[in-house]
Amino acid sequence: MSLLHWAVLAPFIMAVFVPVLRKKAALIHTGWFVLILPIVLFGTFLQYLPVTMNNNTVMQTAPWIPSLGIDFTVYMDGLSLLFALLITGIGALVVLYSIYYLSKTKESLHHFYVYLLMFMGAMLGVVLSDNVITLYMFWEFTSISSFLLIAYWYDRDRSRYGALKSMLVTVFGGLIMLGGFLVLSIMGNTFSIRELAARAPELNEHPLFLLAMILVLLGAFTKSAQFPFYIWLPDAMEAPTPVSAYLHSATMVKAGIYLVARFSPIFAFSGYWFWIVGAVGLFTMVWASFNAVKQTDLKSILAFSTVSQLGLIMSLLGIGAASLHFETLDDNIFTAAVIAAVFHLINHATFKGSLFMVVGIIDHETGTRDIRKLGGLMSFMPITFTLSVIGAFSMAGLPPFNGFLSKEMFFLSMVQLIELNLFNIETWAILFPVLAWVGSVFTFIYSMIIVFNVFTGKFQPEKIEKKPQEAPIGMLISPIVLASLVVVFGLFPNLLSYSLIQPAAAAIVPSIIPAGEQLDVHISFWHGITAELLMTIGVIAAGILLFKFMPKWGRVYDHFPGKVTLNQFYNSGLYAAERGSNAITNAYMTGFIRSYLVYIFTFFIAALGFTMWAKDAFRYDASAAAPIGLYEVCLIVVLLAATLTILMAKSRLTSIISLGAVGYTVSLFFVIFRAPDLALTQLVIETVSTALFLLCFYHLPKLSRHEEKRRFQAGNAIIAAGVGVIVTLLGISAHSSKFFPSINEYYVENTYEKAGGENMVNVILVDFRGFDTLFEISVLSVAALGIYGLIKLRLEKGGETNENE
């Protein structure tokens, strides 16, 4: 266990102590204790910066299940470090923010911080694990802690709904992803990502390659809320706002991005990767930004905006993959896409994190997040307003904020796709920049909505619960820090270039970097009048126009029928699953033993009949059989007649007597087959049981059903006959397939000599197989106890129906 292992485990350990702290130090907000941890971890991870800046890595292994190749291996490279810093950095800010957001007295803080710490540890585990199985484990932990956090106010129906939805979608993805990991492990014979990446060329040739890729991508797409799986994210907004800022914007939803980045060295050689990741990402970006505009809840806007931005990063990673696919190309162009992805990832964490906190403040201070109720808050909350301007303008891609730079790089990557005729892309290539542009226009619009609909316009005091005022300073610190980063990264992007971006990008596309060299990452504001700049100007122009005339065209949204949305699909799908399975189950679970026996015997006939037919298993060999004499024929006739009488009998008496007749006939068979002792036993049993039956039934009332004439049921008759036929055929075949001498020769030889008995059957019963007999006796005593209890004990009689008394 190394320092990095402890860094991953520390939040879990801390989580154990949180309830104690909450109890022992109730006067101090628990958040203050928790805050220490992410700060310390952030500092710890910073120390790895010099290591990764030179494209070096650290790897340490602690064994867990070495027999199965499952170890807790931590692996630190540029990509992992970037995420680890985001997780702990944003984590610290969110904890600080939450101290002022969540009331010490009203909320059950210990739950909140336990879940939050569990999440932090899980997320660190995801980004630091080299072993896919431990990665999967932490992946599911993030889903679980997200579930718990969304359901934090668990007595609200919406919270539980959102929590379940997010868990179902993300765990579905996780399970499928596990399938992908297992396929990969079969292909590469290892669970280590690093070793898999080293074998990437041979994996590419493997027939299972595509299957593994699709399965892993499903995991990434569900987690990172890509189309069509994004539906869980808007509902996840039921969580407290600090959680939304942390999990559902800055970190957890980026786990999918991380996964795609991490597995790029393995999968990106494939053309499918480029298409799937690029196209899904881009479509998600446009779709979600389009949908964000129509939302009225500020958090919903941000949720859709997050989906859209994740799509943007995803599409960049897809395009960047082309640099691996075409080794002859000018690598710079495609590594530019990867660099843009990494850069935008950082930028998104900063501006979206601050925007979520701003929305939290608005919610906290006014009591609503509905933009139809809000307006004119600028004079009440000037600092919050400034923060929202910085965040939203950066999101819209306006200079001088960091969002402008990465948005420009995004456009550049899209435009370059046209210039390079890849994957026979000619006709489709133009779609990429067009969609990117359209998506950006909508992004611009909703960014403006966030700022102007809330802070300018008419103040509507009658619609909001509280009198708005500026938030306390503690709540403002975190968004101020993030907003400052937005500005700093915007003005001095090259602070990040070689410290964070280059190492992370290098980890995504390692194979194209010559040993000892680095990717060229230089980000600058001014490139001259280029296509991307023109696109940005176009976005601003079109965005302003559309924003101004929003009431005019906003009605287009009404034309989307509510019934065909994906949400509706999820809800009705789940409803149908419950209803449908209920209907199906009730249809066959009739509660009647008759139906169950019909199913069982039908299967019996079908399975055995089919096997006998398919295997041609019927054998008939009469050579060992004795001739059938007159006696046997007579007895069989009697047996059949007696059996039929039981079925037809109208009174109990007749059927009992017929039953006795069946038994006596069988005894007679024993007589003919020269087994007098068996015959005797059988006769005694038949006599006793018939007498007992008669005795019992004498006391029973007459059942009316027995008086009725029973209907003949053809189906039942066929099944009954079928079972008989199958057993008979099988019996004849088994009898005709005696391949070995029976072990009974041994008994014949040893009954007298070794066992000292004269009757072989008796000796078998009490000696050779006396063990059987012992337990058959036990069976009888159990039955006796049971009958005694059945007669004597009637729990319901005293009105006591509670099984637990």
Partner: protein, 493 residues
Amino acid sequence: MINLPILPILLPLVAAVLLMFLSKSVKAQRIVSVIASAATVLAAAVVLLKVKADGIQTIDMGSWPAPFGITLVSDMLSILLVLTASIITLCVVLYSFGSIGSGREAFYYYPIVQFLLVGVNGSFTTGDIFNLFVFFEIMLMSSYVLIVIGGTKVQLRESIKYVLVNVISSAIFVIAVGFLYSVTGSLNMAHISTRISEISAEPIITVLAILFLIVFGLKGGIFPLYFWLPGSYAAPPAPILALFGALLTKVGVYAILRTYTLFFYHDQPFTHDILALLALLTMVAGSIGALAYKDVKQILIYNIIIAVGVLLFGIAVMTEESIAGTIFYLVHDMIIKAGLFLLGGIMIYITGTSDLNKMGGLIRQYPALGWTFLIASFALVGIPPLSGFTGKLLIVRAGFETGEYVGAIVVLLSSLAVLYSVVNLFMDVFWKKPEIPLPETKKQTASLFIPAAVLVILSVLYGVGTEVVYPYVMQAVDTLIHPEIYIDAVLKE
């Protein structure tokens, strides 16, 4: 030769006989039950270590040499399951003190539980196919009594179905043993195995394989033979349900695992394909059932069926890896099902109902119960590092490796159905606002909660400590994959 392997059968048998005479004193019954159960656990643990050190342990009963007498065989698989079953029984007995009620206690509840354990441990241990039938009988007879004891209306109604189905399945069992004896001329399982491998091409063997699958499938609750199960299992109270859910179906699965690795492994393209198909249908049918109900007992019962499907799929894939997964999963499922049913019993005890629509809000007063149940749920789903994971991992991986893609994916997706059903249950029972506010006074549940929690903790340890369990499981796998080890140990050739 030592007589160790018989102890886990003999101890409960002696205890049962003793308990019959103590029916007047509930206190004495409780003490003897606990001591006997604990002693059985201990004995099983000793045998386990012995098997680990010295390999398969056998006893020829009455010193009649195999294959002529009855031979008990403790290989690693047997003794692992015996140990698990004994631990579960101990926990259930402890749980019963607080829940089963004085009426049942006075009417031979404890001796019957011991008899049930005799049947279960005997079924796992015996090396004789007819003796297996006998142990099935004692197990079934005990279960008939347990299902009916108390004589409530629902118990009487369901027990008649349960008894009828099982009597029929016993009849088929005898027929199957008879036919097998006719073909192979032996009852000793090792002996049968050698003889079958000499005539492996004979089609009658394949037919017998299917016949035995039906026999054991009826016990194990596989598709389409499980229909009797949900109704019957829901009738008795929680501790009995826990015993049934954890032990009875698993004995059926064990018997399939044993016969399909020892006898019927010669025509795998046919038999194991049918097995795989049935496994998938079982998982699907179980998932459908688990989603269909809003009832604590029903949801958990249908989860039994899903697990049986997973296990069956592991057997069907039939590689070293998948068999290892099956054994991992089998032990896990026994422990966690017992734990879940006991926890479910506590919820029913608190609320007085098993209808989810009428429950709610328990988390405030019973947080420990809630979180334990949630952890157990995640273990059931197979979230690492909890206990269900390793088994599922190996089964799914083996499935992919042998080209059973659909099956492997279905196993993964069945986990989703499990997750949905149990998390929904958790949210309804613990989080949802109850329709009728809960009474302010908390019910005393500690005596019920502790045995249940012990099982859940055990399951967690089993998952985290996979590495410790691994060599044991692999020893069990070795015997199953190489039947000659088993045969040599029994016939001592």
